[in-house]
């Protein structure tokens, strides 16, 4: 669906496309998740990377984008880059190179030590935020510094938003979603997590205090629209406030 004239939420995907930048934008990949879990005694089979590549591949071929902007948390482990993370990072970058898509990473709170690979992988790493073509990208773990030129839109990740819906006979279902609203009178878009295992935080049942990003202490999440993604389509479910108590 078209969010604005310039921004499209690709149907059924957790990826946005910005026409003027010829870029696709996605967030929270959490590469290396399975490796980290296995090291703690839970033997999770590896599927995250292959699912992400599948999805990116579809997005690239429908849009013809030549750039991928990752709004933080490309990798999972806080401490250092683990073997599994390195291998997966390598495979993802190789895939992008082959597709002639340039990667840009806005650093998230999980992305420590990632700079040391920016050179070999040709991965452009930006600090806490980046203004690209008047769009302001940031991860969301800290409040953004709004540049004086008033960006067209703010784009972030981090929260892993989702909504959960219970029907009247008691079945509950969780759908990942985009959030779209305003922060300091500027349009704000929150991306759902790409990570296969990050099923999301259901923003319509959670207390506002329990949300991760400090931005939701400054802007009312209830006024944002939840745009759910799943089952091959993307549908606006309306304001979060209306989805509470469902």
């Amino acid at each position: 669906m078209m969010l604005t004239n310039d921004v499209e939420l690709l149907e059924g995907m957790r990826i946005a496309f910005i026409k003027s930048l010829n870029s696709i934008v996605a967030s929270d990949f959490h590469l290396g998740y399975e490796g980290a879990m296995t090291k703690s005694g839970v033997f999770v089979p590896k599927v995250n990377l292959s699912k992400i590549i599948e999805s990116l591949s579809a997005a690239i071929s429908t849009t013809g984008a030549n750039r991928l902007i990752i709004v933080g948390d490309l990798k999972h482990d806080f401490s250092d880059i683990e073997t599994d993370e390195f291998n997966e990072l390598h495979d993802l970058m190789a895939f992008l190179k082959q597709k002639k898509v340039a990667p840009v990473l806005i650093k998230g709170n999980h992305d420590n030590f990632v700079e040391r690979y920016s050179e070999p992988f040709k991965l452009l790493v930006c600090g806490k935020e980046a203004d690209i073509g008047n769009y302001l990208f940031f991860h969301g773990d800290e409040l953004p510094e709004i540049p004086s030129n008033r960006p067209t839109m703010l784009v972030m990740g981090q929260e892993h938003p989702a909504i959960s819906i219970t029907n009247r006979v008691g079945k509950r279902e969780k759908l990942r979603c985009f959030l779209y609203g305003e922060y300091k009178k500027l349009p704000l878009l929150v991306l759902p997590a790409m990570g296969y295992f990050s099923t999301g935080t259901d923003v319509n049942t959670r207390n506002k205090q329990q949300l991760l990003s400090p931005i939701f202490k400054r802007t009312n999440i209830d006024r944002m629209h939840a745009i759910a993604v799943g089952y091959g389509s993307t549908i606006d479910f309306g304001e979060v406030s209306k989805l509470r108590g469902l």
Binding site: V42, K46, V169, F197, T205
Partner: protein
């Protein structure tokens, strides 16, 4: 081959098979042989595999042990007794182990003293040693373990889990290589579950390690079918069923039982009076008996009864005590000790005192509400009257009218000896995964050799080679890329060589810390305003709650606010009606055999009543109205009291007058109805087959109905039937039902169920347990305990990921198998469907303005507990009032 032995050996023959000192000791202690002993002394002396079923107090333990003790003293007297284990005894309970240890110490000491007295100085010269016994469980201290390693006891008393550790410990297993006898006690508590399957694999592995045949002895109280239990005990030898002799002494104890209804009218008597009457009844029995044991079906029920008895009749802690699994070990031991000494007037238990822990002489057993199976009823009532010559006395006090029908028939079945059957779980892949890892620790295995060993276990005799190989591949880590196998692999496997063995140094530690089949429980903490702790709810219940829901906990109502991880926050409820039914996963399903018996009773009894429908109906229903003589006589053949007879008569008459039909096991009533007080419409399937079957049927029928009506369908299930609910009007005809059934049969019940349960909480919970048993989620890793909450979160992702790897991933396959065959009863559910298709089971659709009497308990969620939920009761009254008005109008 299974041999049923009918004729006991003569006492002479039995005793002469024993060592002379042992014989003398026995004669000095006992006047005669008990029924099981008349068979076993000779059989076990002859090293025959033996399965014994006999009631509590029939000298069962000694019947298994005495011949072995005798043989060990033979060795001792000839100076051949070595410091090694000759006999292993396994029971499911540590408490029982301690009992057996204590009870065998005495004969061992006394016999040894007799020998010392007679032999005097010869003792040392001839190297006559004491026969020793030792216990090894999770409670055994390190120091004691080390002692056992250096000087192992001749008789080793242990649990399935400790045994599994011992056979994989390269040092200790040396002490077990000379084992000649293996005793499994309380075999009925093991043969029907994964814990028992785990044990039977251990036994066969031990036999392989020992390199010789071990004599296997199984002891059980109530057990049917005996052949199945015997097969479980002995397994296969050289591809053929091993021999076993079956001793059935189960009916050597007399029973005196009665079903009691606290009041004659179970609908309109006020809660207070029902409660008063119930406790008055209980207290009468307590007062007139020396000691009483009360069984409730849940832990919370147990607490409630103890509280009430103390409050109402001024009993103190030294008179009445609770005994259940949530209590500390010390307080449980205290209660057992007090019972044994005859100090306690009354003990109240959920299930924990059902097993054979020695509790001394109990005069009377009271069961509150249906225990759901004949076998369990006998087991519980059998706890009274300790010696095999005394009479076991029991009363069942019923909670509602369905409960009454169930208990009346159950008690009748107890007297008629209609036991319900158990099934050994077959081909459980998670348990096998653990054993394959265990096997890999001890040596390098050839695949075919290992597969053959596994197939010698009864539970795995039909295991497909492909399933075995999929486990090997999973355990070898073949589902991840080569370079990750170092971390994922749990065994080493060489495909070319067709061999597997140990991988890495950690393997053994991981194995020892994680083995076992009993899942960790998840308790969700509930906090009220001001972070005040209120109690626990089950995890599965939490997943059903949404904001604003009102539920009962500890007898009070709370409103659900939100949850975070393993905590749940509530406020005091503003309304007085719960919006969500209580949840008891502890609740046991009704056995199929009993359901069939109840069905037959319904048919006979309603057939008899049909002619009275026309006569003066309401007068017949009132309590003062007299029951027709024929009816009174028929009901008097059941073990029920006067109140029960009146209640039974009233219940069936109401149903007949209102709906013209009483559902039976050959006639499924399908009632389309609604309730004016709610906006929901119901289709009530009166399918009297037990919850395990109804669970399966209800899900697929709901899927079908959802498709037809294009609506979400809610499900409520109990033992007597199930209810499908919808917000929209539901209209169904005979044609619809037939189409639905034929559709299900075409697609296949199992396929439809798998698809339907894939996204349920049940699936997630079971998957976590199976994944933990298969070591895919480690409960304990590198010394860290992984909290269940974490396990749960991970399990959801794991399930998703595993499915993407391979839909036939062994951990997923096992989860479905367990749900379909253990939680549900797929084979019987399929039989019901084909019965509906062929017409062997008829069905009839009726439309009612308000629900018929037989559906009331189903609509009030069918989960009766000792805590009568007041709101529930009121709801039931209003339903009933509607029915009575309708009958009156006609």
């Amino acid at each position: 081959m299974m041999t049923h032995i009918e004729k006991p050996f003569s006492d002479e023959e039995s005793l002469s098979s024993l060592n002379v000192f042992v014989r003398k000791w026995f004669a000095g202690r006992f006047a005669e042989l008990t029924p099981p002993q008349q068979y076993t002394f000779k059989l076990i002396t002859d090293k025959v595999n033996t399965l014994v079923t006999a009631p509590t107090g029939s000298g069962k333990t000694l019947s298994g042990f005495l011949s072995i003790i005798s043989k060990l003293f033979d060795y001792s007297l000839s100076g051949r007794l070595e410091d090694k284990v000759y006999c292993i005894y396994v029971s499911p309970l540590r408490a029982l182990n301690n009992d057996v240890h204590r009870n065998l110490m005495t004969p061992l000491d006394e016999i040894y003293q007799m020998i010392t007295k007679e032999k005097g100085l010869d003792m040392l010269k001839s190297n006559i040693k004491q026969v020793t016994i030792g216990v090894r469980t999770g409670d055994t201290t390190q120091q004691e373990r080390r002692k056992q390693l250096l000087k192992p006891p001749n008789i080793l008393v242990t649990t399935p889990e400790s045994l599994a550790i011992m056979i994989n410990s390269e040092k200790f297993v040396e002490n077990l290589k000379g084992v000649e006898y293996f005793i499994i006690d309380e075999i009925h508590e093991l043969a029907n579950n994964k814990r028992g399957v785990h044990l039977s694999l251990s036994v066969m592995r031990l036999q392989e390690i020992a390199g010789h045949e071990i004599t296997k002895i199984g002891l059980g109280a109530t057990l049917y079918p005996l052949d199945e239990a015997a097969r479980f005990l002995v397994g296969y030898k050289d591809g053929k069923e091993a021999d076993c002799t079956i001793v059935d002494a189960s009916w050597s104890k007399r029973l005196e039982i009665k079903t009691i209804s606290p009041v004659a009218d179970m609908v309109y008597t006020s809660d207070d009076i029902v409660e008063d009457e119930t406790y008055k009844l209980i207290n009468e029995i307590i007062t007139k008996s020396k000691s009483t044991l009360i069984f409730t079906n849940t832990r919370s029920g147990t607490e409630r009864v103890v509280f009430n008895l103390k409050r109402r009749f001024q009993y103190g802690d030294e008179d009445v005590a609770a005994h259940h699994g949530s209590l500390s070990r010390e307080s449980r031991l205290d209660v057992e000790e007090m019972l044994k000494k005859g100090k306690l007037k009354c003990a109240v238990s959920s299930t924990s005192l059902e097993l054979g822990v020695d509790i001394g002489a109990i005069e009377n057993v009271i069961q509150l509400g249906s225990p759901k199976s004949v076998t369990r009823a006998i087991q519980r009532i059998g706890r009274s009257g300790h010696s095999f010559k005394s009479i076991a006395k029991g009363e069942i006090i019923v909670l509602n009218r369905d409960d009454l029908v169930e208990c009346a028939i159950m008690m009748d079945s107890v007297l008629k000896k209609h036991l319900d059957s158990f099934v050994v779980p077959k081909n459980a892949l998670d348990v096998l995964a653990q054993h394959i890892i265990g096997m890999s620790l001890t040596k390098k295995w050839n695949i075919d050799e290992a597969y053959a060993l596994v197939r010698s276990v009864y539970a795995y005799h039909d295991l497909e080679k492909s399933d075995f190989m999929s486990l090997i591949n999973y355990l070898a880590g073949n589902y991840v890329s080569l370079e990750s196998r170092r971390v994922y692999g749990k065994i080493w496997y060489d495909e070319k060589e067709q061999a597997f063995g140990k991988r890495g140094m950690l393997a053994k530690v991981i194995y020892m810390l994680n083995l076992g089949t009993i899942p960790d429980e998840v308790a969700i903490n509930v906090y009220g305003p001001g972070k005040k702790w209120i109690g626990n709810i089950e995890e599965e219940f939490l997943t059903k709650l949404k904001q604003g829901d009102i539920f009962a906990l500890g007898g009070k109502l709370y409103q659900f606010e939100h949850s975070r991880g393993m905590t749940c926050y509530v406020t005091d409820a503003k309304s007085s009606t719960p919006t969500i039914p209580p949840w008891f996963s502890e609740q046991l399903p009704l056995s199929f055999e009993l359901a069939e018996q109840i069905g037959e009773f319904r048919e006979t009894f309603s057939g008899m009543l049909k002619k009275y429908i026309k006569s003066n109906k309401l007068k017949l229903l009132s309590n003062t109205g007299k029951m027709p003589k024929e009816v009174d006589e028929y009901l008097s053949t059941l073990p029920v009291d006067e109140n029960s007879k009146k209640a039974l008569f009233g219940y069936f008459m109401e149903q007949l007058l209102f709906a013209k039909e009483v559902p039976t096991n050959k006639l499924m009533l399908i009632e389309v109805t609604s309730e004016p007080s709610s906006e929901l419409n119901f289709v009530v399937f009166h399918s009297l087959f037990g919850r395990r079957i109804n669970d399966a049927l209800s899900r697929v029928l709901a899927v079908e109905l959802a498709e037809i009506t294009d609506n979400d369908i809610g499900i409520m299930v109990n033992d007597n039937g199930f209810v499908l609910t919808s917000e929209e009007d539901i209209s169904i005809s005979e044609r619809t039902i037939k189409d639905m059934v034929s559709d299900i049969t075409t697609i296949g019940l199992s396929e439809m169920l798998k698809k339907n349960i894939r996204k349920t909480e049940l699936m997630k919970r079971k998957f976590r347990q199976v994944a933990a048993r298969s070591f895919m989620i480690l409960r304990n890793y590198k010394g860290y305990k992984i909290p269940v909450g974490r396990q749960q979160v991970s399990a959801q992702m794991l399930l998703k990921a595993a499915e993407d790897v391979d839909i036939n991933f062994p951990v997923i396959k096992e989860t479905y198998r367990e749900i379909l065959n253990e939680t549900m009863d797929l084979p019987r559910a399929e039989a019901i469907l084909s019965g509906l298709t062929s017409g062997a089971i008829k069905f009839k659709i009726i439309k009612t303005q308000s629900p018929s009497p037989f559906s009331h308990n189903m609509l009030t969620f069918g989960s009766a507990d000792v805590i009568m939920m007041r709101e529930r009761h009121k709801h039931l009254q209003s339903l009933h009032r509607m029915v009575m008005e309708r009958i009156g109008e006609k």
